[in-house]
């Protein structure tokens, strides 16, 4: 099974999971148990990975000391919970995330997601799917350059594939849009919301290898693949409606 097939299977599993859980305890889905409401949420997120290592780029690397990409983010979002499930959905969210607080010119991502949550008595399990759109952090652009004693220059440029336009900024293809899935646990005591979980984005990356001879003959190996970019997050929310 290829990684993209694996990602598709994972996506289906994530979406189906709350339905299965709900099926085990039908009382958790009654409309009387659901708390409708709209929350304003703030939170932190942490990305980590090794962008030049395909294996660890496509798999969550839990080794804190073997990474060359580490990114802290802050999130602001509005999340609305329906009073009743609507077409198997519990609500929707609209959010903004600022990746890499050290730089202002990049790392601005908007997101739109749909979610389903189920009450597991002491907390709720929530799964979401959606899209992220925006100008990604510079941290996703990396070049490894090597000049050999033979006069040949070799380099690998790994970077997030920009596939959409951001209006009023730069050139025509300077933004990204890609799907994500998210799994989290949350509690909504009183008018508050506490949530923690993991979101996995599926952007496409270009992994381009160049080799330039002393006579300026250029060799290429240009690859593009969709990869999983996970981050963990913790959020706090206040009910506004």
């Amino acid at each position: 099974m290829t990684r993209s097939q694996g990602a598709a299977v994972m996506c289906v599993v994530v979406v189906m999971m709350p339905m299965n859980l709900a099926g085990q305890d039908s009382s958790t889905l009654t409309s009387s148990d659901r708390k409708a409401g709209t929350y304003l949420k703030v939170g932190f997120a942490q990305w980590q990975g090794n962008i030049f290592n395909k294996n660890s780029l496509t798999n969550w690397d839990i080794d804190l000391f073997e990474t060359n990409l580490e990114l802290r983010s802050v999130k602001l979002s509005v999340e609305s919970y329906f009073g009743d499930t609507l077409m198997q959905l519990s609500g929707f969210s609209v959010g903004y995330r600022k990746d890499n607080l050290h730089r202002s010119e990049s790392g601005h991502m908007m997101s739109l997601g749909l979610f389903r949550d189920i009450d597991a008595k002491v907390f709720a399990v929530k799964t979401s799917v959606g899209v992220e759109w925006g100008m990604p952090s510079f941290s996703f652009d990396q070049t490894e350059l090597r000049s050999g004693s033979d006069g040949i220059v070799r380099y690998r440029h790994a970077y997030i594939y920009r596939n959409t336009n951001i209006p009023f900024v730069g050139t025509n293809t300077d933004g990204v849009v890609y799907p994500f899935i998210e799994v989290s646990v949350l509690q909504r005591p009183w008018g508050l919301l506490f949530e923690t979980g993991m979101r996995v984005g599926f952007p496409r990356f270009n992994l381009d290898d160049y080799e330039v001879s002393p006579l300026d003959i250029v060799g290429y190996a240009l690859n593009r693949k969709r990869v999983m970019v996970p981050y963990v997050f913790a959020e706090f929310g206040v009910r506004v409606f």
């Binding site: 932190f44 050290h102 100008m135 070049t143 220059v153 920009r162 300077d174 963990v232």
Partner: protein, 317 residues
């Protein structure tokens, strides 16, 4: 009830721990060093030389001849100089003393063919003459900031006009000098979004019809804001083209070191720049002793002023 409270406590604790961990300082990818010239230790030398790209712009002027010779030889002897970018004006003699001094160092030359050439009638003949005068030069950049650096009362050129001239030179080179010459496109203004917009216009006017083995994309970049504007183009339409940053740096000698440490790797990461040319060894647009300069007061040779960056690059280890 107790069990429920315990679960809530656990989740609350997990939330707080995650929030505290994420709030801690971190995420910086590149070390930042001091800019004080007095602090030249081995670690700093290593860090700066690791990021430095051994390429440099040099203004062709006989005012600084001895200092040029000394500074270029010193950088070269320390392995910190492989190539120099010089500008060729129509009235510049190949026997000019400054040109001769630079050529004698044996560094790889990138010749910026001055914007004035863009307006001559027979550019092919002019290019033949340039190649005959400078037989050792392989890399020629056709113009620089062509829509912004122009004589006040002279002719102007837009990107369509520029690409027409560039195409004529390219076709001439392919017909007569293929394999002998590599052309660089003009580098647009190095700040704001103008550069990326002009490069996009160059794509619209036929840049992609030119062989990536024969053409290198030139970019001037004095801030990351401007560099960021190119990313969609370089990862898309221009994915097969090489990129050289032909001018970079900061107009403050105290910040030279930190600029190299922080921004050279970023320019490579963002633009996949094979080379980054420091704007200038001496001089600049606003007078001879500008704060871009790695050396100043060349008349005081051999006691000319050396910037902290120059000192780090040429320090004994």
């Amino acid at each position: 009830m107790v069990q429920k409270r315990m679960h809530r406590f656990s989740i609350g604790t997990l939330f707080v721990v995650l929030a505290v961990c994420m709030g801690c300082e971190g995420g910086r990818l590149t070390p930042v060093g001091p800019t004080d010239s007095a602090i030249v230790d081995d670690t700093l030398i290593h860090q700066v030389r690791l990021q430095w790209s051994p390429y440099l712009g040099v203004h062709v002027t006989a005012e600084a001849l001895d200092t040029y010779r000394d500074a270029l030889a010193t950088l070269r002897s320390k392995g910190q100089l492989r190539g120099v970018r010089i500008e060729l004006h129509p009235n510049l003699s190949p026997n000019d003393r400054a040109i001769s001094a630079i050529r004698s160092t044996g560094v790889d030359l990138l010749a910026l063919v001055s914007n004035q050439y863009l307006f001559v009638d027979n550019i092919e003949r002019e290019f033949d003459k340039i190649l005959a005068d400078y037989p050792e030069i392989r890399y020629f950049q056709i113009g620089n900031e062509v829509t912004t650096i122009l004589p006040a009362d002279g002719p102007t050129i837009d990107i369509a006009g520029y690409m027409s001239v560039f195409r004529r030179i390219y076709d001439h080179v392919q017909a007569r000098y293929k394999g002998r010459v590599v052309l660089l496109t003009q580098s647009s203004l190095g700040s704001g979004s103008r550069g990326a917009m002009e490069l996009e216009a160059m794509v619209d006017h036929g840049l992609l019809e030119l062989d990536p083995n024969q053409v290198v994309i030139g970019i001037n970049s004095y801030d990351l804001d401007s560099a960021a504007q190119y990313l969609g183009l370089l990862g898309g339409a221009l994915r097969k083209y090489r990129v050289w940053v032909t001018e970079s740096g900061v107009r403050d000698s105290k910040l030279h070191i930190s600029w190299v440490q922080e921004n050279y790797p970023r320019l490579r990461n963002l633009l996949r720049a094979e080379r980054v040319y420091w704007y200038t060894l001496w001089g600049g647009d606003a007078g001879p002793d500008t704060e871009f300069s790695l050396v100043k007061q060349p008349a005081n040779y051999p006691n000319y002023w050396r910037s902290p960056l120059f000192s780090v690059l040429t320090a004994e280890r």
